[in-house]
């Protein structure tokens, strides 16, 4: 073993670890340059920065959950439907009555946990491909939801809108909540047995099983957390929109976008490597891109086209160097 053979993989490894930071800095740089070039320095205030971050709270909360699913080498395509379902259930159960706030939240969280449990069991026990299992789950949820509701249903009491609109000074509650949730997730991954089990199972499921880890439980746990986060994102969205409709999750493309920000954040789609803070960087990158489009005045449809291209390009940024053929 010579020095050169050791140095080469080490450098690439460091690039992988820092790629999300590089992307984040690049996005900030482009944003600042664009704003200065257009002479619109009013976009550079603290208030505007917070506004940019606040725009992607739904995505951020969803992506925290998605990180768990992807770390365990699974994936969850049902988050968009879970968000819709959670938002509708929240607003229908509350129906303008402040007394129903806690029951509604409890009901939504239970629903999220049950959906995650089913997802996890179908994937871990029946060994159904996670893409198909969660796509199927998504169809089922969407079908049930649009059987009962086809428009905005129920409404959220004013007291509950504080979750989305209230703030301490200039910092909204929801932003604090998102970062608190991210901190909690980080703690879970970094310092608990469950967290290290997630990395083991994601890295190599067979090895983890042989090492005595109950892989089924870990996969099910990761999916429960993923669906719970999606449900919380739905609750937040209901609070912000003041009501829930069965299409709001699909309209936000939260399934694909949450996967994209997780991957941009440096979590490997094959599982076992990555973390929460990378995901948060990915979320901020996405909201910056959105703001760049807004500042530059890009047409809504063009924005959609570019967004699709950016998602693929971002994933390619990480994946192109891998030697394995992909599915």
């Amino acid at each position: 073993m010579t020095d050169t053979t050791l140095a080469a993989p080490k450098r690439r490894f460091r690039f992988d670890r820092n790629a999300s930071t590089i992307l984040l800095l690049a996005a900030i740089l482009i944003y600042v340059v664009l704003v200065v070039a257009l002479g619109q320095t009013r976009f550079l205030t603290l208030e505007n920065l917070i506004a940019i971050l606040t725009r992607s709270i739904t995505l951020g909360i969803t992506a925290i959950g998605q990180t768990f699913a992807i770390l365990v080498a699974s994936i969850d395509l049902s988050v968009a439907s879970v968000i819709s379902a959670a938002a509708v259930v929240t607003s229908v159960v509350m129906n303008g009555n402040p007394a129903m706030m806690l029951p509604a939240i409890a009901a939504v969280l239970v629903m999220g946990a049950v959906i995650g449990l089913i997802n996890g069991l179908v994937i871990a026990r029946l060994e159904v491909n996670p893409l198909i299992a969660t796509l199927g789950m998504s169809l089922i949820i969407q079908g049930i939801l649009s059987y009962f509701y086809n428009n905005f249903a129920g409404n959220v009491p004013a007291e509950f809108q504080v979750f989305a609109y209230g703030s301490i000074g200039v910092v909204p509650f929801s932003l604090i909540f998102m970062f608190a949730l991210a901190g909690l997730a980080w703690f879970l991954l970094r310092f608990t047995r469950f967290g290290s089990d997630i990395y083991s199972v994601g890295g190599n499921q067979d090895a983890a099983r042989l090492a005595g880890i109950k892989t089924t439980r870990v996969i099910v746990g990761a999916h429960i957390l993923c669906s719970l986060c999606a449900a919380i994102a739905g609750i937040y969205l209901a609070s912000r929109l003041r009501s829930g409709a069965p299409w709001i999750g699909a309209e936000g493309v939260y399934d694909l976008e949450s996967i994209a920000v997780v991957v941009i954040g440096g979590t490997v789609l094959a599982g076992g490597r990555g973390g929460i803070w990378g995901t948060m960087a990915g979320v901020i990158i996405f909201s910056l891109i959105d703001s760049i489009f807004n500042v530059a005045g890009v047409d809504a449809f063009v924005k959609q086209v570019l967004r699709g291209i950016i998602i693929v390009a971002a994933v390619a940024f990480y994946a192109a160097r891998s030697q394995r053929p992909v599915a």
Binding site: L135, L139, Q142, G143, V315, S322
Partner: protein, 328 residues
Amino acid sequence: MTDQTATTVQLPKRGLPKINPVYVLLIALVLAIIVMNPAFAEPTGYMNYLKRVAALAILSGGALYVIVSGGFDLSVGSLMTLTVIGSSMLASNDPNSTYWIIPLMLGIGAVVGLINGLVVSYLKVPSLIATLGMMISLNGVAFMWSGGAPRGYLPDTFRFFGRYNISDVPLIGILPVAVICLAVFGVILWWGMHRTNYGRMLHAVGDNPQAARLAGVPVKSVRISAFVISSLTAVLAGVILGGRAGVSVDIGSGFELQAITAAVIGGAQLLGGRGSVPATIAGALALEAIFTLLNLLGLAQPIRLVVQGLILIGAVAFATYQRKRVGR
């Protein structure tokens, strides 16, 4: 090593008449429909059913190429939408435009498939993400092109393929052009998958890309061509669907999942290596038969989604269970 014993063990199994369960399912469903609605046994009944299913069946046959090669193609639904909207925008009510619009659309489809394939093969983006990104972009392009609301309509020459019925055919009375298209493209897709060297390479790539590469299969070009074929069938399906159903902005949405469901019902193995075109077409027929049955039972449209989701999970779980039992 155990190669020879493996083949000798397998040979008697192959000898047994082993019917793909999808055919049994299809026959059972059709019988159930006939019991509930005897008019279905008349030529107009089943020909209309075949006409309805033609777009999905062709699409599934093409999607199977990607599935057998080990990927997914989720962009086909939006490509169908783009085909219908683009054609109606370009046609501007000129009946002669059809003759250049369809080749142009096939060209666009080929480019879309090529991009999908190149992104998956060279940039190593998982096909699911690559084609989902393509789906978002194509939907955006369709909206951009039409300005949000489609204008114009498809000329009759364009709608010929999806709508026209040849009447006074002996024995069966009517014969929709869509059904002829289904038969023709079904045979072509079957031939390409099961009777050519290319089809064998496709199976090899999906089963084990490394082994295929070492055996001299041009893995990248095989995978890219699978995406091109899938996109071309999506354009054909779009032409037929647009002809039958007319122009709307979300006409193709949901078809990508229906095509995968049809392939899975037909016993295709997700992530590659196994799949049959006739069984996939039978899967598409079965899926449409289930939808017809749900209609006859008076169940609302959203129930379709629930049933489709359950079938998707159930079929894959069943296939996994069977594979585990056989020990492969």
